[in-house]
Symmetry: C2
Subunit: 197 residues, 2 copies
């Protein structure tokens, strides 16, 4: 795996996701972080390694129709701001909690994560859970696990507006990729959080 | 707290929830399990005792309008069957997972819980989490914590179609009620699962 520490976005041979003509059927398509995590979670679940799910998108339901002989139809609803993270679950008896974020540029801007989510991650750490953020640099097809304690500290106390790629590289953990699971993030959890076991 | 082990629904002085004229403003209203748990979770969260949230209702979003100068409006969506339970989170370093069910009759019919949810609860137990079902008998204003291992076993292996009130009383744990939190289910978790700590 090649690292591009200089923030260069125009990598030779790389086509941005939105310019690929037929993304769905391209064999070597770029990273879709949410999909990759969902598929990995399904693999982990099916192989009885962990019980980690994506939470449903929070929706404020305003109006529902009940047509005869068919399912209730929601006809007015709005997206709500999530008050927690996207993923949580259970691995080797431990509570796991994380947020997943893609970035096209070679840094992670703090505006990509909400105050609510930072507060939630902080709570998870303080109550003894394993909490982190997975940050994917889509332009170079890398996903990094960044511990929540570090993320919360940087977000809160350093007058910073982003984490640079180098900071993430120095303080995070590269997630190995493969066929199944696509993102082997439980391996990183073993290394980083459960080494003594 | 008075127990009515004989399944009698017409308790003297009791008015069913759907016949109360002004439920919202009645001081001694009956139990609304979901609301009671949500308020209790907020109390636990605000007092930094636990990090337990209700998952959003899963919705299949089909069509979204993007009106100018206002929020995206979902105009066609459908309820999806939940593949997990309604609540999970973190307490004293432990993964907590549960489903909450109301029943108006003095038994808990197994048709009130899905195969998916039983499978999920079983996984949570096997992976070292604390998992249970909270069953509320709304007619007598009692909520019981029933351990997931017992629930899964009864659901799967005994050719049974329901748990009787007596079975729940003998194998479950009555959840103390109060003003704040309304349902003190963490106290029961302390007693049942974390006694040595």
């Amino acid at each position: 795996m090649v690292h591009y520490p200089n923030g260069k976005a125009d990598i030779p041979g790389f086509t941005p996701a939105n310019k690929r003509p037929n993304k769905k059927y391209t064999a070597h398509r770029g990273m879709n972080l949410e999909e990759d995590i969902n598929i990995s979670n399904k693999y982990y679940l099916d192989h009885d390694k962990a019980v980690i799910h994506k939470k449903p998108t929070p929706v404020q339901i305003v109006k529902v129709d009940y047509p005869k002989r068919s399912a209730a139809k929601i006809v007015e609803a709005y997206y709500r701001t999530p008050s927690t993270t996207d993923y949580n679950g259970l691995y080797k008896g431990k509570y796991i909690d994380f947020e997943a974020k893609e970035t096209k540029v070679m840094q992670f801007p703090f505006k990509n994560i909400s105050d609510h989510q930072i507060k939630h991650l902080d709570k998870c750490v303080r109550h003894g859970g394993i909490a982190f953020v997975i940050i994917a640099f889509t332009s170079i097809n890398e996903a990094w696990l960044v511990d929540a304690a570090y993320m919360v500290d940087m977000y809160r106390h350093h007058d910073k507006r982003f984490l640079s790629y180098d900071e993430i590289k120095d303080n995070g953990h590269l997630i190995p990729q493969g066929y199944a699971p696509r993102l082997k993030y439980l391996d990183v959890i073993d290394d980083v959080y459960l080494r003594e076991e």
